[in-house]
């Protein structure tokens, strides 16, 4: 067993990292909840956010964390035509056609990343990315805490949007029963477009945070997609705050698994947990049925 300081630091890092990934997972979750669509390009949306953060820094010199609203907006604007042109026409054809289409979008985007930005791995180089933060026996990279804080704040904003605003009411209505929602005057088409844009914005902001904390390359998306799916399943589909709890829980358990079995087992623990929850608690381990 490693010594206590290392163990505490590892678990703290896992918790912070899980919270950081929760925002990306939330984007996947709301799209899944409202449109019954597993957006297989979500990992690539995340990378669009990471690259956007990188180039935002290069061209404007402004810290990408300050530019996060711009990046969120950019991703939303990027996603709306994708939805309108590619997904909307398939709305009546069941979820598979849309899922396959997003899958095609994902491989096209990967290819575009390689052509436009080369296959090199990159990272958004900032001072805070490498600084350690020490509290008592715990030492974690400062960026983990910053990313965690921003992610939690963003998740709370989305929670407020979904639970307190008129758009959120329409969103929940469209998720629960699109036909009934349309009958009482909800513009389901616009709600879906905006939900897809919001999902992309979550992925993009999450991507910038991840790009600041880790290296990324054109094919990094798939791992984050799987991780996000695990968080969504853990937290319960469409449950905004559950996603945050799911992210933190996954991060903590992965760290514990890594400590107990060796570092290589981190992701393995995540996937095993994912399948176990899928098998035994399909509504998420919080299991509060909310659409």
């Amino acid at each position: 067993m490693p010594d206590l300081g290392v163990a505490c630091s590892t678990i703290a890092a896992g918790v912070l990292l899980g919270g950081m990934l929760a925002l990306t997972a939330l984007g996947l979750s709301i799209v899944l909840g409202v449109m019954r669509l597993v957006n297989l390009a979500h990992g690539e949306f995340l990378l669009v956010g990471a690259y956007a953060g990188l180039f935002f820094l290069q061209f404007t010199g402004i810290d990408p964390l300050l530019g996060l609203p711009v990046i969120a907006l950019f991703l939303a604007v990027f996603a709306i035509p994708l939805y309108r042109l590619l997904l909307q026409p398939l709305a009546e054809r069941g979820p598979e056609a849309q899922m396959m289409t997003m899958f095609a979008v994902s491989i096209i985007l990967q290819n575009v990343f390689v052509l436009a930005f080369s296959a090199d791995t990159r990272s958004i180089a900032r001072d805070y990315a490498t600084l350690p933060l020490t509290v008592g026996p715990i030492t974690v990279p400062l960026i983990y805490l910053i990313g965690f804080a921003i992610s939690v704040a963003a998740v709370l904003v989305v929670h407020w949007l979904v639970s307190r605003t008129a758009f959120g009411r329409d969103l929940r209505a469209s998720a629960a029963d699109p036909e009934a929602a349309a009958t009482i005057g909800v513009d389901v088409k616009s709600v879906r477009t905006l939900t897809f844009a919001l999902g992309a914005a979550c992925a993009g902001v999450g991507g910038t945070l991840i790009g600041a904390a880790f290296q990324f390359g054109p094919s990094s998306g798939a791992a984050y997609l799987l991780n996000s799916l695990a968080i969504v399943v853990l937290g319960g589909l469409g449950n905004v705050l559950g996603t945050l709890v799911g992210g933190i829980a996954l991060g903590a358990l992965q760290s514990l698994g890594g400590l107990a079995l060796g570092d290589g087992y981190r992701d393995l623990v995540g996937m095993a947990l994912f399948l176990l929850v899928l098998a035994f608690r399909p509504d998420g381990f919080l299991a509060r049925g909310r659409a």
Binding site: V38, I107, V112, G264, L275, P282
Partner: protein, 315 residues
């Protein structure tokens, strides 16, 4: 709708055997280049037939082909290296292993319908890959070498042919027998089928186990041809992607879909061999266009499905 063709089940089986017999003697004439292409097409055909059975007949859209390809590869190598068993035995073991894994995980994967099955297969493939990387008994990240030299290409070609033949015959059986009606009933409305006395779980399980066994055997043949396997390649998402692409391009649920899709994808790969960087993107664009404008794929698009459905293989 299965009565639509003019050719009976016996004739379809006869055509499949005739095509297989013709291909069996192909190594006597064809050069290495064509045997390589043929080998890949046959492996892909076997995978796509299984995928088509699951998605087209039972409504199970899988992104986990790589899981069973990889498992088959590792089992085949294990049996060949540790037991010095002959290749057919190793492939049979791979098929059994693939089917067994499918049966083992099915309670978890079938628990939720539709998209969750897809997501679950994806996670399963990743889980297996990570296991192989981390457990040193399976060779870890560097993988395993085949102890003895692999057989020559003409022999491997015939093994691939045998696996594809097996897959095609199994699909003919499923499409022609009472099983096809049950499969379709489950795909179209699981609850209604259950009320009529069909057990959806068993039906889906049968399709999943069969397709997984075929995929594992195909993986075994592929692995032997490579002579060395490692977890990144054998469990790579690329397998799942290619299979899905072929099935959709060919036409989901159509008898000739997998064959046309496999030939199309291999031909496209050869045509774009000089532009590897654009290959994937072009495949993606073709996918999007086909999904949008030709929901029944090339086969459904090119001709009236009623006429095409029972025609012999064009290749």
């Amino acid at each position: 709708m299965k009565r639509r063709g003019t050719i009976g089940a016996a004739a379809e089986v006869a055509i499949i055997f005739a095509a297989a017999a013709a291909l069996w003697i192909a190594p006597n004439f064809a050069g290495d280049y064509w045997l390589q292409i043929g080998f890949r097409t046959l492996i892909y055909l076997a995978l796509a037939e299984g995928w088509n059975l699951m998605a087209g007949s039972a409504g199970l859209v899988s992104l986990g082909a790589s899981c069973f390809v990889g498992l088959g590869a590792y089992i085949a190598f294990g049996v060949l290296n540790k037991l010095d068993a002959p290749l057919p035995l190793a492939l049979a073991a791979a098929g059994l292993g693939g089917g067994a894994l499918a049966a083992l995980v099915s309670p978890a994967l079938f628990r939720l319908r539709g998209l969750y099955f897809t997501v679950g297969t994806l996670a399963l493939a990743e889980l297996l890959r990570l296991t192989m990387i981390n457990v040193s008994a399976f060779g870890g990240a560097t993988g395993i070498f085949l102890k003895n030299d692999p057989p020559d290409l003409p022999i491997l070609f015939r093994y691939a042919l045998a696996v594809a033949l097996l897959a095609s015959l199994a699909m003919t059986f499923c499409a022609r027998s009472r099983a096809s009606v049950i499969l379709r009933a489950v795909r179209d409305d699981e609850d209604a089928a259950a009320q009529m006395g069909v057990r959806p779980f068993r039906v889906k399980l049968a399709a999943f186990v069969l397709a997984s066994a075929v995929a594992a055997m195909a993986g075994g043949v592929q692995a032997v041809k490579l002579g060395a396997i490692e977890p990144y390649g054998m469990f790579g998402l690329q397998w799942s992607i290619d299979v899905l692409t072929m099935a959709i391009i060919g036409g989901v649920g159509l008898r000739l879909g997998p064959l046309v899709g496999a030939v199309f994808v291999i031909a496209l790969g050869e045509a774009l061999a000089d532009y590897p960087e654009a290959h994937v993107a072009i495949a993606g664009v073709i996918l999007i266009v086909l999904i949008r404008f030709a929901p029944r794929g090339v086969v459904g698009f090119v001709a009236n499905p009623a006429l095409v459905l029972r025609r012999p293989a064009p290749a």
